[in-house]
Amino acid sequence: MIKRVIEFAEALRRSNVPVSLLESIDACRALISCDISDRGEVRAYLFATMIKDQSHQKVFNQLFDVFFSPGTYDHGDGGLSLDEARPDAYESFDDDVDDLKIRELIKNSLLSGDELQLQSLVSAAVSRFAGIEPGRPVGGVYYAFKTLRRLDIDALKSALFDTRLEEIDSSDSLGVKLLNLDVDLALDKVRKMVDDDIRRRIVSDRGAEAVARTLRATLPEDIDFMHANSEDLREIGRTLVPLVHKLATRLGQRRRHGHRGTLDFRRTIRRSIANGGVPAELIYHKPVPSKPELVIVADISGSVASFARFTLSMVYALSEQFSKVRSFVFIDEIDEVTDIFESSDQIEEALRLVSTKAKVVWQDGHSDYGRVMESFVERWGEEITNKSTIIFLGDARNNYHPSRSHVLASVRMKARALYWLNPEPSTYWDSGDSIMSQYSMYCDSVDECRNLRQLESFVERLV
């Protein structure tokens, strides 16, 4: 048991969730005092002792399901046994039951709300559809996909919806909408059961440690912008808000508690008059915090668009920390979008407007950094002063156009600082059509910025 908790803690640490020694000891102590045949209780105890941040919950759940999956867990006497599940113990259908019938059965048990029956039906469906091959080092996503496709989950959804619709008044449009949500929830339950069942099988096949390694359990702040799917993006978006909030508080505090400035001689003497000319109390100049004026120039072509979105929304959420923020977006033509951000109080809304209103395509809609820089200097070059901090966002993949890096050099001469954030791993720079090094010699720094963690640390350094 203790061994399992320690393995679990290790797996959490591998996913960047900090679990201290004390916390794993607490987890073990907690399990001693509880009834370990109840899986929900075990989950609650381990969560309370090992996790201290809500954004780690998803990773916790993923790994918990692997290490303490029902199959490896509660057979027999309710004690925590780690026996391999017997393969013949899985439910299966007789051969004369056809696929349509299976769907019908699952629908009926969803309607009656019989969880146990549903569970065994789903398990049987997995036996038939997933085609699990023992020993293959996979995370099970493909098996789940196969099961759901053969089960035809969309057909199941519409069947369930139609049956439920008969119960209610179909002219009540709000009722129909709520019903729709309800049906979605029920189907999520089926999906989750399929996932659980498959996981149980592969864990008993290969052992929890091995499965945990193939599982992609990543904290939202470590998700790679470039490889994020739409669910990941939503996840990042959700994490961004509290993250920015915390960052703003931290920066604000740093500003207030900043170092003392130099001695204010005049006010010290003035104050000393009260003490008969003895300068008993020294007065210091309040430090004047420098608020940089930011100019953000972002590539919003397909490959790096989501990266630009997150960076822009983070910067605008922190706009109090800067004296002024101007933003430009480009693909092979550049356009200023400062107005869009300033006139809209919701960043999401603004980002949507940017993608529809800004004129960023000139010829073919493939990034052309050189042309864009030339046009930027031509149109707004006059407004770049020694107060402006310029940040370029992009992967520097120029689609084999000329780099025209001398333009960037001239921008650097005028500006206070020039940074470049690249969402690609630094090992990819200068491969293929990436011409990062031609630009990087004119930048104060070029940073790899692949996830929220790196973005946050860059913004903190900037202020």
Partner: protein, 293 residues
């Protein structure tokens, strides 16, 4: 764990903890009763986080009520310090004491006299430590104190003792249940988090929220409660500035009941949406997403 204090547990099972809470009108989820049970077993404070209006403070209050214990509350704010959280010497009384004697004795005598318990002003943390009767300590909105001040809490929370230079170390007579709440406006220090159990109170599951509505709103029918909860749930799915909390669900349920309604339909929802949502932009968004067809 401290030997002499072992064996005095408030709850024998998580279920019992849950039942005690429901007994005073707080319906706990499995997580809540498990963590409460665990806090009692391990004698560790509970750090409660979650969106506003999900019953963080209420949990501490109800626990106190369920156990028949006194609630001692420390409301945190920026700039709180030792003298407000732990203890303070009653400076004026000390001054009076020195002046009231015409001829004070030797200094050592005066010193041990004026730094005695008579002149000590107890603040919430010390109060909780020294209490003879059962107490529940609530440290509310702990994320508002500065990082430096957080260190003050550490001694109290891990060893249940307070050191006062003039009097020595005061150990707890009994270990109180401690709740810390946080709205997550900043990251708490690792040291503090390590010492606590973590409980995240999210918006409740559908079934639990229904139970809450039924138990708190007299005269609500089950069908009405169900449609109320699923409507609120669908609002929470949206990307709103301020999502409706439990208390707003209850307000809305009360509104509907007092209007004498028995079902939620579009026009009702539209006209009473302002009970649930507090920003104009949110109301506009919700009507667009859910109500228009």
């Amino acid at each position: 764990m401290i030997g002499s204090k072992q064996g005095e547990f408030q709850f024998s099972t998580p279920l019992e903890a849950g039942e005690l809470l429901s007994g005073v009108g707080y319906l706990p989820s499995v997580e809540i009763s498990s963590v409460l049970f665990l806090a009692d077993r391990l004698k560790k404070p509970v750090l409660v986080e979650g969106p506003a209006g999900t019953g963080k403070t209420e949990l501490a209050k109800s626990t106190a009520k369920a156990l028949g214990a006194r609630l001692i509350r420390l409301q945190c704010h920026e700039g709180i310090d030792e003298s407000k959280a732990l203890y303070e010497w009653n400076y004026k009384k000390q001054l009076l004491r020195i002046q009231s004697d015409g001829s004070p004795g030797p200094w050592s005598e005066v010193e041990s006299d004026i730094f005695s318990e008579e002149f000590l002003l107890e603040r919430p943390l010390l109060q909780a430590i020294r209490a003879e009767d059962p107490v529940v300590l609530l440290i509310d909105e702990v994320d508002r104190v500065e990082i430096e001040t957080e260190a003050l809490l550490l001694e109290v929370l891990s060893d249940y003792q307070v050191s006062i230079p003039e009097l020595g170390t005061m150990e707890a007579k009994q270990i109180p249940l401690v709740f810390l709440t946080s709205n997550n406006t900043r990251e708490l220090s690792e040291a503090l988090k390590r010492r606590c159990l973590f409980l995240f109170l999210d918006y409740p599951e559908k079934d639990r929220e229904m139970e809450i509505v039924i138990s708190k709103v007299p005269g609500v029918s089950v069908t009405l409660a169900e449609s109320i909860v699923s409507f609120v749930d669908s609002l929470r799915e949206l990307d709103l500035k301020k999502r409706p909390s439990i208390s707003e669900t209850l307000d809305w349920a009360l509104t509907l009941v007092s209007l004498g309604l028995d079902a939620v339909d579009e026009s009702v929802a539209k006209s009473t949406l302002n009970v649930l949502l507090k920003y104009r932009s949110d109301i506009a968004k919700a009507s667009k997403a859910i109500l228009s067809s």
